[in-house]
């Protein structure tokens, strides 16, 4: 059967471009991608599948269209009623992740390696074993754990990680908790592969890997929220800057200080397009973005007159010029972002 999971990202009413989905999943953060990600309610999924191969992605989408689960038009792809039916029929507790947004908060690859190593080192320590095959060859993970152990003790590691895992998993869906621990490696435990778990649960290996990733990231957030834990230092190493990168933060600080776009360009010595893109990203992720600093009363009047159409997806920048108005693209885009946030609030 074709992999139907991507159907989850499509809607029966709103046509959506597949390219936007791929770029969101693989963490491409241009102003345009993020705007359409906002329109399609995809933003939580940024960085969710960072290594999604273009060809593989396109093959899956083509297959979903061929199965008539997605319908393709010039506007984009729409979920068909058969597609909706497929989701309803095949959906299990393992099909979709609960906290995709955590992919933006932690470096999953590094955290996964640290977590697996932590568990293995703690487990072997509890059995007084110092000679074993190391389950993960990630050098940075090995280095940070060794460094941590120079300051802290093996007993502390074992006590904190075992306690944390128990508390965390006790609050999870028990079936998912079982899946999660099945992949852990330690004394006399080699862990099960995704395929082995999948065949026992009657789900796909992809669902196993997503569920594990989701729980691993939730565990990172769980540990991070408990400031008394020393292993929190190991989680902190994997923390990502989040949606706003350091360079956007710098622009944001200047903008919030009251500097105009031109002043920011001068101070930061960056191109206008870069600064304008920073402001778009800021508006997308900052709910209290001060639109009035860019959009004047008269701008808003013109924009509301030209873009009376309620479906924001249909707005085109060219319409402004066609109706005889000169306005920078930034204003048009910020207005669309503002209205989209307004829709969400309604």
């Amino acid at each position: 059967m074709a992999d139907w999971h991507l159907l989850h990202f499509f809607d029966q009413r709103q046509p959506r471009k597949a390219t936007v989905l791929r770029q969101i999943l693989t963490n491409k953060r241009t102003g345009s991608v993020l705007f359409w990600g906002l329109r399609y309610h995809y933003l939580d999924y940024l960085n969710a599948v960072p290594r999604f191969d273009v060809k593989k992605f396109n093959d899956v989408i083509d297959e979903l269209i061929a199965q008539k689960w997605l319908q393709s038009s010039a506007q984009g792809l729409q979920l068909t009623s058969q597609g909706q039916e497929v989701i309803a029929t095949h959906r299990t507790r393992y099909s979709f992740v609960d906290h995709p947004e955590l992919n933006q908060k932690f470096d999953y690859q590094l955290w996964q390696a640290i977590l697996l190593l932590m568990v293995q080192v703690a487990s072997e320590y509890r059995y007084h074993n110092s000679n074993y095959y190391v389950a993960n060859q990630n050098l940075k993970a090995q280095f940070v754990i060794k460094s941590w152990l120079q300051v802290n003790t093996f007993e502390m590691l074992a006590a904190e990680i075992s306690e944390c895992l128990t508390q965390f998993l006790d609050q999870c869906d028990p079936a998912k908790a079982d899946l999660f621990t099945a992949k852990l490696v330690g004394h006399t435990q080699n862990g099960l592969s995704d395929g082995q778990i999948a065949s026992q649960l009657g789900i796909s290996p992809l669902e196993v890997s997503w569920t594990w990733r989701d729980l691993a990231l939730q565990l990172a957030a769980f540990i991070q929220a408990r400031s008394n834990l020393k292993i929190g230092q190991l989680v902190q190493i994997t923390a990502l800057p989040g949606a706003l990168t350091p360079t956007i933060h710098q622009t944001a600080m200047l903008f919030n200080d009251g500097k105009t776009v031109d002043q920011i360009i001068q101070i930061r010595r960056l191109r206008r397009s870069t600064i304008e893109e920073h402001l778009q990203v800021l508006a997308i992720f900052q709910p209290d973005f001060p639109y009035e600093k860019v959009l004047s009363e008269s701008d808003l009047k013109i924009l509301s007159r030209v873009y009376a159409e309620p479906d924001i997806d249909q707005w085109r920048y060219a319409e402004l010029q066609q109706q005889g108005f000169e306005m920078p693209f930034l204003k048009f885009r910020l207005y669309a972002i503002m209205k989209t946030h307004g829709e969400c609030n309604e």
Partner: protein
């Protein structure tokens, strides 16, 4: 130290560091040659512990060892194994390292005694310059047969090894391989710019404890039935080799459904964590059978594999000898079975066509090499590595024409092995130009259905219960992991 003293000391290090009483054939000679200062080509059969030669040399001399290896999975297996043996100053420099990891390793390079590197990573100027600053006591070229242009495993990146050796100041060098004809031997020595006093240690590729069998069946269905029969009657553990990941998965499904054997697939689609799990389940006898492609780690050190079955024929006799060499590393009677349906070779022919770039493709990419940057498949990477050597277009085209012909000839030799009426062991020895006559007997080889009882390989008891690999309740897993009370 005189020769006897060196031998005694080597024996002591073998015992102290590796826990072995005696050397395997070829190891002591190789080490003596190196200690005497001769660059050495060691052609030792699979399973004889080639890697121990350079590990022990490093321990014996306390010098740094740089190992150039063609396969990332092989390097990772070696690193894992060495760390297990408490050799901690070991690292693999590969393209798989993240930027952070690479920075960390380069910053601390002087702290590693054993450095594994792929030939392509050595072409990175920054990395190579860092390496050049370190004294290298021994340069090792693993799987050295990959140097040979006419060999099926030829790697263009290996062509630069002679230059690399020169830039490193012609360090003492050990080239290792299990299979090398005399032609390949000469090429290796020439490419690596070996000195006149270099030595060659050659042992027969023959593994007398592995019975060689080829069985022809009528159809794929008959092949599946025969496979089911074999795996349920021969004592395991066993390895089944496939040329296709999809088929390996299908057969895992079939064997799981129809037998009570614990079976898993192992191929390139598995992530690193799953590869670790499957390998270690197999090593610790939690699995009875692995259905693998050639991705199955060459470094996997499981000594008691009793059978290797080839569901698909490999591309050449060298690969076949390497793969069946995973069996019987404990020296006990084992068996290699090749199941063949007439026409099976078409899969290999197709793979050959797919795996070699065509003339128009060569022309196009030769003039637009920048387009190869994002193409990660082996085929295009191969072409890229070649173009990087600044070869002329006519030479490049003629190389690939020759390469295709060589691959085709190698496959024909494999097919001839299947069909030969003569002793199969003799066929292999002749193919590798070993000047030796096999004393054929009932435990040597055979075409057609094999009597496993005659070999003492009949299954002795029912396999352990499958439940050994069942998922458990998370409380139970945590209790076992952390020695908590349940």
């Amino acid at each position: 130290m005189n020769e006897i003293e060196i031998k005694t000391k080597l024996q002591q290090v073998l015992k102290q560091e590796f826990g072995f009483e005696n050397f395997k054939p070829g190891q002591a000679e190789t080490l003596m040659s190196l200690v005497e200062g001769h660059s050495t080509l060691a052609i030792l059969p699979t399973g004889t512990g080639k890697s121990l030669c350079y590990q022990l040399y490093g321990k014996f001399t306390h010098q740094r060892v740089l190992v150039i290896s063609p396969l990332i999975s092989l390097m990772q297996d070696q690193v894992e194994q060495m760390k297990y043996n408490r050799i901690s100053q070991v690292v693999a420099l590969t393209s798989k390292l993240t930027g952070q990891e690479r920075d960390f390793v380069l910053h601390n390079l002087a702290n590693y005694q054993f450095i594994f590197a792929s030939p392509e990573i050595l072409q990175n100027e920054l990395i190579f310059n860092q390496l050049r600053r370190l004294p290298i006591g021994l340069l090792v070229v693993d799987e050295a047969h990959c140097i040979a242009k006419w060999g099926p495993d030829f790697r263009p990146d290996y062509l630069i090894l002679g230059k690399i050796r020169q830039l490193l100041g012609q360090p003492l060098t050990l080239a290792l391989t299990a299979t090398a004809t005399h032609e390949v031997e000469m090429t290796i020595k020439k490419q690596l710019r070996f000195e006149d006093d270099s030595q060659v240690i050659r042992y027969s590729i023959d593994r007398p404890n592995i019975f060689l069998n080829v069985e022809e069946v009528e159809s794929e269905m008959a092949k599946n039935d025969r496979l089911l029969e074999l795996v349920t009657t021969i004592q395991g553990p066993g390895l089944i080799y496939f040329s296709s990941k999809k088929k390996a998965d299908e057969i895992v499904e079939l064997l799981t459904r129809k037998t009570n054997l614990r079976v898993a697939a192992y191929h390139a689609d598995l992530n690193l964590e799953d590869r670790f799990s499957i390998q270690h389940q197999f090593i610790e006898n939690q699995l009875d059978v692995i259905c693998a492609t050639s991705a199955f780690g060459m470094g996997v050190n499981k000594k008691d594999i009793r059978y290797v079955i080839h569901y698909h024929l490999p591309a050449d006799l060298e690969s076949y000898v390497q793969e069946i060499g995973r069996a019987g590393r404990d020296g006990q009677q084992s068996i290699a079975i090749l199941l063949y349906v007439p026409g099976d070779e078409s899969l290999q022919y197709t793979m050959q066509i797919d795996s070699a770039p065509q003339k128009n493709e060569i022309d196009y990419y030769y003039h637009h090499p920048e387009l190869l940057k994002d193409l990660q498949d082996e085929n295009h990477q191969f072409l890229k590595a070649f173009i990087n050597t600044q070869i002329s277009l006519p030479r490049l085209e003629s190389f690939f024409t020759k390469h295709r012909q060589d691959k085709s000839a190698a496959l024909n030799q494999m097919i001839a092995y299947i069909h030969t009426e003569q002793c199969k062991r003799q066929f292999i020895l002749d193919a590798f130009k070993e000047n030796r006559t096999v004393h054929h007997n009932e435990k040597c080889c055979q075409s057609g259905p094999v009597d496993v009882a005659m070999l003492g390989l009949e299954k002795k008891k029912q396999a352990e219960l499958k439940s050994a690999l069942k998922m458990q309740n998370y409380h139970q897993v945590l209790a076992e992991l952390f020695a908590q009370e349940k």
